[in-house]
């Protein structure tokens, strides 16, 4: 191994050294809370961040560590911290650097949980947000205030599927010494490595395509290692001494992984949203086949886009790989392999027809998730985005007739046949 390993190889091997005791080839599940220290000096040096090693599974765990290093490797980041869920990852990533009086510029088109976090929850802790249209790149610049400490968005917006202009927004962040954090759940590092375009941190709901089997909830924060925290005094949690670890200066001592180390040292210790070793194992199993699955997600998506755009019961179809989509050009630039496997479309006949379609398909599962190996459908206006108000709904591009489809790995002929059943039922309703 005298050169960097490629993506598919890293998906299988990164982060793991074969178990030296029994030679287990799969990553062992270290289902333990804590670790016996060989001596007091080792114990104290682990506690004082003088050496790596495990003390307590809320902070680090060997199985979770393999997943973290694998995700860091695939993403090209200097370090990753895995969390109990994607939302926990987002919360930890934001609060690692923001506090009372700080401000976020965020995209309007995001997962409902992200919007609610920034609109309802974080303001209770003194962190406010301004939401801007992700297609109006200049809007990110215009919304920056003196107290702005973060730019946040999803590369592929949810559910309108607008694509962020990563390079342009990263430049705006760089000009203002503000890091650019991207929720990369919908793209995964297989479709786009956001750090290559200047993003500074990515967060993932590993629950989704990365894990890929709908079996375990999990999140990850990846430190791009490419933000110069020391260039300003805006980020004291990274650049000022941190009392709990004898006044450690994370920026001085950890440089490119200072941000991730802050999450490890603070959030995992004082808040504790840790991932379980069992979930880490399940998610690792998924990542082993990430590229294979993504290719199939994409080819099924392409076929279904053909099918839906030609279907008489469909009033509109939205996906960035369609020339009609407003983000088509950006998708070609940032997501050349394909712009993910979420499709939204409208069923002719409005709200009732949409509802009937969902109730009559059998193979596609009606549920609130995306990125499963199985095909999923949902009506966002009444579910995932129901907790946000009407204005935000419009801003997020959600219409009453919208169905969001997460294309699975089934034989695409079976998905089409299933949809035919749904469309036939919807047609009867539409006719009245």
């Amino acid at each position: 191994m005298s050169r960097f390993l490629n993506f598919d190889t890293l998906s299988l091997h990164a982060g793991q050294t074969v178990d030296p005791v029994f030679g287990a080839r799969a990553t062992p599940i270290y289902q333990t809370t804590s670790y016996v220290f060989p001596d007091t000096d080792t114990a104290s040096s682990i506690f004082n961040l003088e050496r790596g090693g495990h003390a307590y599974s809320r902070i680090t765990n060997p199985t979770v560590g393999v997943l973290e290093q694998r995700i860091a490797a695939l993403e090209g980041g200097s370090a990753a911290v895995c969390t109990a869920s994607g939302m926990a990852a987002t919360f930890c990533a934001i609060t690692a650097i923001l506090g009372q009086g700080d401000h976020i510029v965020a995209s309007t088109q995001m997962y409902g949980g992200n919007i609610s976090l920034m609109k309802n929850t974080l303001p209770r802790f003194g962190i406010t947000a301004t939401f801007v249209d992700p297609t109006d790149t200049g809007g990110f610049r215009d919304a920056i205030q003196d107290n702005t400490r973060l730019i946040y968005g999803e590369l592929i917006g949810n559910p309108g599927l607008d694509i962020l202009d990563l390079e342009a927004i990263a430049k705006i962040g760089g000009d203002h010494h503000v890091p650019f954090m991207v929720d990369a759940t919908f793209n995964t590092p297989y479709l786009c490595r956001c750090f290559d375009y200047g993003a500074n941190v990515t967060v993932h709901s590993v629950t989704k395509w990365m894990g890929g089997h709908g079996a375990a909830i999990g999140g990850a924060v990846v430190d791009g290692g490419n933000f110069d925290w020391g260039a300003t005094d805006k980020y004291p949690t990274i650049t000022e001494p941190y009392a709990p670890f004898s006044g450690i200066n994370l920026w001085e001592e950890f440089g490119p992984s200072a941000f991730a180390t802050r999450i490890r040292a603070e959030a995992m210790r004082d808040i504790g949203p840790s991932m379980s070793p069992m979930n880490a194992f399940l998610l690792l199993q998924g990542i082993e086949t990430l590229s294979l699955r993504m290719d199939k997600h994409l080819s099924n998506t392409a076929e279904l886009l053909d099918y839906l755009t030609g279907h008489e019961q469909v009033s509109w179809v939205s996906h960035p790989s369609l020339p009609s989509h407003s983000s088509h050009k950006l998708a070609q630039k940032y997501l050349p392999k394909g712009a993910g496997s979420i499709v939204s479309f409208g069923v002719k006949g409005g709200r009732e027809a949409g509802k009937t379609f969902i109730e009559n398909v059998e193979l596609a599962s009606h549920l609130a998730n995306v990125g499963d190996a199985k095909t999923l459908i949902i009506h966002p206006a009444t579910t995932t985005h129901s907790r946000i108000d009407a204005d935000a709904l419009v801003a997020a591009g959600i219409t009453e007739d919208m169905i969001r489809l997460s294309v699975g790995l089934e034989d695409v002929a079976d998905i089409k046949a299933d949809f035919e059943t749904g469309f036939r039922a919807a047609k009867r309703v539409a006719k009245g």
Partner: protein, 269 residues
């Protein structure tokens, strides 16, 4: 901390404790294109064992003011200026890769305050092929890929790191991106030009330690053993499973070896 040497700002970490020149001091020297973060955990370990620690960025590198120095001899002179500026006594020098050439020169020419010197992953010379030097100047990403590709052994290529969740190879890449093209090219040229290794090694009086790596492709075993052969009476260890980046790839073993050697030769009160 920042301090001025010959009118230029120098940055050094002190391992998380204030610098105190009345204590025995461990000075860590990084290799080509790298910086202080290479030594993070090791520096902290000694700082919390009653040593003073100094981990400078070489001139031009990361936080230290440039321009980069262009010869190994000049770096040794600069290090002596650092030592005099801070009035450091009872020094244990710990060096990796190019840092070892700097240490050879320093230890042979400025023995007065030196209590011990630890050479990690180096020989008496570091010939650098012209393709790498020209890549450093004209295609820094390619040069970084060559150096980290060759530099890290299996643990590095598998994105292991001294701390769970960290990828040392990715971290190294981010650091090096801040030190190209000028610093890396200057470092590599300085390495390539250095020819005084044999004489310098033979002149070293302080107790010396050599830690080599079995899977080192930058400073292969044969080259490392030449260094061993020319030092008066070094303590030698070969860590078989490690690649060139020993302090990161085999951090626990490396720390133990440094600890035992420095505690013995430069004890704290």
């Amino acid at each position: 901390m920042y301090f001025a040497v010959n009118g230029k700002q120098v940055f050094a970490t002190t391992g998380g404790k204030p610098f105190d020149n009345s204590k025995p001091t461990v000075i860590f020297l990084h290799g080509s294109g790298l910086d202080h973060t290479f030594w993070g955990l090791h520096a902290r370990f000694f700082a919390f064992r009653n040593y003073s620690v100094l981990v400078p960025d070489l001139p031009g590198h990361t936080n230290s003011e440039g321009p980069p120095l262009t010869t190994i001899e000049a770096i040794a002179d600069w290090l002596n200026d650092v030592v005099k500026t801070l009035d450091i006594n009872n020094i244990s020098l710990v060096a990796h890769s190019q840092g070892c050439l700097d240490a050879l020169e320093f230890a042979s020419r400025f023995p007065e305050r030196l209590k011990s010197v630890s050479f990690i992953a180096s020989g008496l010379a570091t010939p650098v092929n012209e393709a790498l030097i020209s890549a450093a100047e004209n295609d820094p990403e390619a040069a970084i890929a060559m150096m980290l590709g060759w530099g890290f052994g299996p643990a590095g290529q598998l994105h292991q790191g001294p701390i769970p969740g960290n990828s040392m190879v990715a971290g190294g890449r981010k650091v090096m991106r801040g030190n190209v093209p000028a610093e890396l090219a200057a470092d590599l040229r300085a390495c390539d030009a250095y020819k005084n290794g044999k004489q310098a090694a033979a002149a070293i009086q302080a107790p010396a330690q050599v830690i080599l790596a079995g899977k080192d492709r930058m400073a292969p075993r044969k080259a490392g053993l030449e260094l061993v052969a020319h030092l008066p009476d070094p303590e030698v260890t070969i860590i078989e499973e490690s690649g060139h980046m020993v302090p990161q790839e085999a951090p626990d073993r490396c720390r133990q070896l440094l600890r035992d050697f420095i505690f013995k030769n430069n004890p704290t009160r």
